[in-house]
Structure formats: structure tokens, C-alpha cells
């Protein structure tokens, strides 16, 4: 688990620009396990797999950090960026698509191929985003797998979770999951109803991660999980997050069964035990937004 920064690596190479990089780059690079690294510090987490075949990048962060992400990737490998995977369509995870893709190259000379579930480019087209950001290597099944840098890579699609196009990426040799926003450690789950997200799909995604993850010793280590936002976790962290969502969902279901309105449910504070840890205050990730999303999803028949 070594940590390096762009600046440290640059200094090691004797680059004159090292002090400049140290002051400017918001991105820090952290070795998670095996071939996989975390790039932290941007709008969302970025996972990078490096090896003899080149580079694979899971999510690219926001547009504003695209150059810094690319520079950080280059501190890990000067090999070609062959593949990119988008865990979902949101801009904080795909804003660097153009920069990273254009810096890469496929075997037949195109910019690095971006893989995603087919719902992702659909959303991007709806939002009139530039074609260079679109994943053009899509799939519609519940999973896809391929082999790169000496290990099998599995992509699992979870419909109606954070969005309708969520995928979880599993690096089988490195034993690392890149969860996208189906697992975050910073706030409550963000269930994006506008993107057809839902609480049941969210829980299914977390349960799928629990089925894959194996702890090394008494629930510490083993399979590591890179969240969409926040710190690296393992099975024990995922189960706590899963437990929280299930408990809150069950409380809201019970309140709906008792005929309580959304305002009644909010007043009953079904998230009280988790608010000091996960309430973002307002907007996405807040207790209010989480309660409303779960309530509307369940009361309006989305998941029943």
C-alpha cells in the first residue's frame, strides 16, 4: 500500500517542474493492491490498472481535473491507455473521458475505447454531451468479462441502483472491486430518480459486492473496494453500508404501511442513527434527499 504523488515521482525523475506539480496537482496516487491504483482528490475516485498490456482506467473524474488525472496515470505507467470503463454517466465520473481517451490508443489506432452499460451513452446523448465523451463500446447483458494485464476483469450491471447504468468492476487477479457510486463512504446513497435509480437495485449491487468479496483475516483486508467517493474499503465496510440502507428502507416501508406521508416520515427521522456520519446537509447525499428517494421509490411502486 504505497502512496506516491505526482510530485514525488517527478522529483524522483529529477524533473525541474516537481515543485510546480507539488503545488498544483490535486490528485494523489495510492497503490491499492496487485495491478490496481486509486487516484484520489478529484470530483470522484478513479481506479487505474497497469501492466504489460497497457493501462485501463475506471472513471475519469470531473472535467476540471482531467489533465491532473492524466498526469497521475503517467506517473504509474507510460504504456498505452487501451481501455476505459465508466461506472455510470454522471459528469463527476466521466468529465475526463475526452482527455484520457484522446491520450490513449487502441490496437487499431483509435482513441482509448470506453466501455459502459448501454444506458450510459443514452444519458449522455440526452444531455447533448460531446461525442468524444461517449462510451461507444457498450453492452446490455447483466455482465461482461474480458482479460487484460494478466487478469480477468468482470463488469456487473445493476439496474435501478444509483442510476440505471451502474456497473461494478472486479479485477479478479488483483482482487479489487471498483464500485462506482453503488458504494461511497462520504454520504448517504445518492439515488438518482431522474436516471431511474432505486433503493432495491442499490442494495442488490452491495449484496453482489459482498458475494464477491472475501476477507483475508477476520474481516480485515482481502478484497479491497474502491468507492465512488471516499476511502478504500473492504467487505466489513461494505456490509456496514449495506446494513444501514436496509435498516432505513425497512423503517420507511413500515411507515408507508402505516399510512405516513413523506412529511410524517421525515419528521420521524428514520435515519437518525446514521445522520452524524452520512448526512451531507443538503442536496444529494443528504438525509432529506435519501429519505425522499427511498419513500418515493417504495410508495410510488417503483420497487414493489
Amino acid at each position: 500500500m504505497k502512496r506516491t504523488t505526482s510530485a514525488v515521482v517527478a522529483a524522483g525523475l529529477g524533473l525541474a517542474a516537481a515543485p510546480f506539480l507539488a503545488a498544483q496537482s490535486p490528485i494523489e496516487t495510492y497503490h491499492v493492491q496487485g495491478n490496481v491504483y486509486l487516484l484520489a482528490g478529484g470530483a470522484s475516485n478513479v481506479a487505474v490498472q497497469v501492466g504489460p498490456d497497457g493501462v485501463l482506467v475506471v472513471d475519469t473524474g470531473g472535467e476540471e481535473t482531467a489533465d491532473a488525472v492524466l498526469a497521475a496515470i503517467r506517473t504509474l505507467s507510460d504504456g498505452p491507455i487501451r481501455w476505459m470503463v465508466n461506472t455510470h454517466a454522471h459528469r463527476d465520473h466521466t468529465g475526463g473521458n475526452t482527455t484520457v481517451s484522446q491520450a490513449g490508443v487502441t490496437l487499431n489506432g483509435n482513441p482509448a475505447a470506453i466501455i459502459a452499460h448501454e444506458e450510459v451513452p443514452t444519458r449522455m446523448v440526452e444531455e447533448d454531451r460531446p461525442i468524444t465523451e461517449w462510451p461507444l463500446n457498450t453492452f446490455f447483458e447483466d455482465r461482461r468479462d474480458f482479460y487484460f494485464n494478466g487478469e480477468a476483469i468482470f463488469l456487473y450491471h445493476h439496474p435501478r441502483g444509483h442510476t440505471d447504468g451502474d456497473i461494478v468492476v472486479y479485477f479478479r487477479g488483483s482482487d479489487v472491486l471498483a464500485a462506482g457510486d453503488l458504494f461511497i463512504t462520504t454520504t448517504y446513497p445518492v439515488i438518482d430518480a431522474g436516471y431511474d435509480g432505486g433503493v432495491t437495485g442499490f442494495i442488490d449491487g452491495l449484496n453482489n459486492m459482498l458475494d464477491i468479496a472475501v476477507p483475508a483475516w477476520l474481516q480485515d483486508g482481502g478484497t479491497y473496494v474502491i468507492p465512488g467517493h471516499g476511502r478504500i474499503g473492504d467487505e466489513a465496510d461494505v456490509i456496514e453500508y449495506r446494513d444501514m440502507i436496509v435498516i432505513v428502507r425497512d423503517r420507511i416501508l413500515d411507515m408507508i404501511a402505516k399510512g405516513m406521508s413523506l412529511d410524517d416520515v421525515r419528521a420521524a427521522r428514520p435515519t437518525l442513527d446514521y445522520d452524524p456520519r452520512y448526512d451531507a446537509g443538503d442536496g444529494p447525499g443528504s438525509a432529506d434527499a435519501f429519505i425522499e428517494a427511498v419513500y418515493r421509490d417504495l410508495a410510488e411502486g417503483g420497487d414493489q
Binding site: 494523489e28 476477507p215 477476520l218 480485515d220 476511502r231 478504500i232 456490509i239 425497512d250 437518525l272 452524524p276
Partner: protein
């Protein structure tokens, strides 16, 4: 000869590292349970929330707690985390790791028999990991000597609990430990700060006795298996107001539930008259 001895002594002094001036805490240690025996050896039971400065979020967590949640596959082999593991019966072994050239203490290594847990207390001044680094149940520890007191600061601890009755600890907990040795006794004081579930620092202390004969450290070979048929991915918990065990401890010991669930105010001696008032009120009713 005397001159040579003095010269040699000076030479030794010149190469003696600062760490060697501290008291030695290495060896095998076992708990003594004169303090909080009922809490530490039989262990806390359902509904025992005494002595912890909990907030309302912790109370709600405890209300929802169903002890069968530890039977879920992914929870079965989960060890106690640092804020709790020293409270129960345990033995542990401390040894030093020294730099081969300077003989300075780089780290104290600790093997805790309970759940076969290992800890490292780094003494070489290294920083704690970044926030985005993984957490563990033992956390990441650094130590400094202040005279003969070893002070250890631990961060990056996983979410767990302060009591098995469901009082939660969060992954934002920081634990400061002070170790003091008196002859063959080692005193440990824990000061636990948790911005998520505590209203003020939770302080407790333990005594350990040096074991001169034999290694009594336990082994713990945990395998997680489905022990009773239940749906996969079940999350046992009680809905608000439905936990039948919430006041079990209060009823067992005839203690007002408000005192048991009272948090910080109930942990101070000044609360005793208030308990008597509550008990008198109950008797009158």
C-alpha cells in the same frame, strides 16, 4: 583500568539512543479484572448502555440492535475493534522492533490473543495514512514517550461498537492510550473521541499483569458458516419501539432506564442523587 572504563562508558552513552531511556513494556501481559469486573469478564448483556457518553444517534442505533446480526456470515468472524478489545478477558504480547544500525525503537508489535489480533505502534515519527486509506479493526497507531508514559494515538479504525448491546463506534473514532508501568503491572488508559456517536470523550482504564511463565496467548480459528437456516443477505434489526430487550438490563438490576440510557450526565458521581430520586419516584408510583 578506571580510565578505560570511563572512556567505554562515555562511548556507550554517546551511542545510547533516546528510546533506551524509557521503561520496558515488552513481554507477556494478562488482564486483571478488579475494575469493572462484571462489564469485562461475563461481559455486557442486552440493554446495558451504562457508562458511555452516547448521543441520540447512538441511542437509536442501540434501539435497532438485534444481537443475531453478529450471526450474519459477514459479521461472524468480526473481531472487537480497538476501542473495545482491551475491555474483555485477554492476554497480549509486546515486543520491540529496532533499527539494526541505530538500535532505535522503530515500532512496538503487539499480538492480542482475543481474535488473534495484531497491532503495530509506530515509534519512528511516520505520519498517519491519508484519509482515503483503508481502515482496520486495530487501526493505525503511532506512539511517543513522555517521560515514562507511552502515549499512543490511533486512527483509521473501522466502525464497530463500544458495547455488545449495540452502542456503536464509528469509523471516525480516534483513540489515545496512555501506558504506565508500575513494577509488574501495566496500566492502560483509553480516551476515545467519536464525533459521530459520543457527546464527550469516553474514558476507561485497564490493568495488566506481567506473565513470567509460559505463553498463554489464545488462538482463534474462526470459520464463517451458515449456522442456522436464514435468507442470504438478511439484516436482523428491530424497528423503532419494537426491541423487547431494550430495558432488560434496567429491569434485571432495578435501575431506572433513564439512568441506563442517560449518556454523559449519568457517568458522573453527581448523577447518583438523581438516580435515587428516580428510584424513589418509581417506588411511590
Amino acid at each position: 583500568m578506571a580510565f578505560r572504563s570511563i572512556t567505554a562508558a562515555c562511548a556507550l552513552a554517546a551511542f545510547t539512543v533516546s528510546g533506551a531511556a524509557q521503561i520496558n513494556i515488552t513481554g507477556e501481559w494478562a488482564g486483571r479484572y478488579h475494575e469493572d469486573f462484571d462489564d469485562r469478564v461475563p461481559g455486557d448483556v442486552n440493554g446495558d448502555f451504562t457508562g458511555v457518553p452516547i448521543n441520540d444517534a447512538a441511542r437509536r442505533h442501540a434501539e435497532a440492535w438485534d444481537v443475531t446480526r453478529v450471526n450474519v456470515l459477514e459479521h461472524q468472524c468480526q473481531p472487537y475493534s480497538l476501542p473495545h478489545i482491551y475491555r474483555g478477558p485477554l492476554q497480549f504480547r509486546i515486543w520491540e522492533e529496532k533499527h539494526p544500525q541505530t538500535q532505535e525503537i522503530i515500532a512496538y508489535r503487539i499480538y492480542i490473543g482475543t481474535y488473534m489480533q495484531s497491532r503495530t505502534i509506530w515509534m519512528d515519527g511516520r505520519p498517519h495514512p491519508p484519509e482515503y486509506a483503508p481502515h482496520t479493526f486495530a487501526g493505525f497507531s503511532t506512539g511517543v514517550w513522555n517521560g515514562d508514559v507511552l502515549t499512543v494515538t490511533t486512527t483509521h479504525i473501522k466502525k464497530e461498537f463500544y458495547r455488545r448491546s449495540g452502542l456503536p463506534s464509528s469509523d471516525r473514532t480516534t483513540v489515545v492510550e496512555h501506558y504506565v508501568r508500575h513494577g509488574n503491572l501495566l496500566s492502560q488508559t483509553l480516551i476515545i473521541t467519536d464525533p459521530v456517536y459520543l457527546t464527550e470523550p469516553y474514558v476507561n482504564s485497564q490493568e495488566f499483569e506481567r506473565i513470567e511463565r509460559g505463553n498463554r496467548n489464545w488462538l482463534y480459528n474462526c470459520e464463517y458458516v451458515m449456522e442456522v437456516p436464514q435468507p442470504r443477505h438478511l439484516v436482523p434489526h428491530y424497528l423503532p419501539g419494537e426491541n423487547p430487550f431494550l430495558d432488560e438490563w434496567a429491569r434485571l438490576f432495578g435501575t431506572p432506564f433513564e439512568a441506563v440510557f442517560g449518556g454523559a450526565p449519568s457517568t458522573y458521581p453527581e448523577f447518583m442523587p438523581r438516580i435515587e430520586e428516580m428510584m424513589n419516584d418509581e417506588a411511590d408510583n
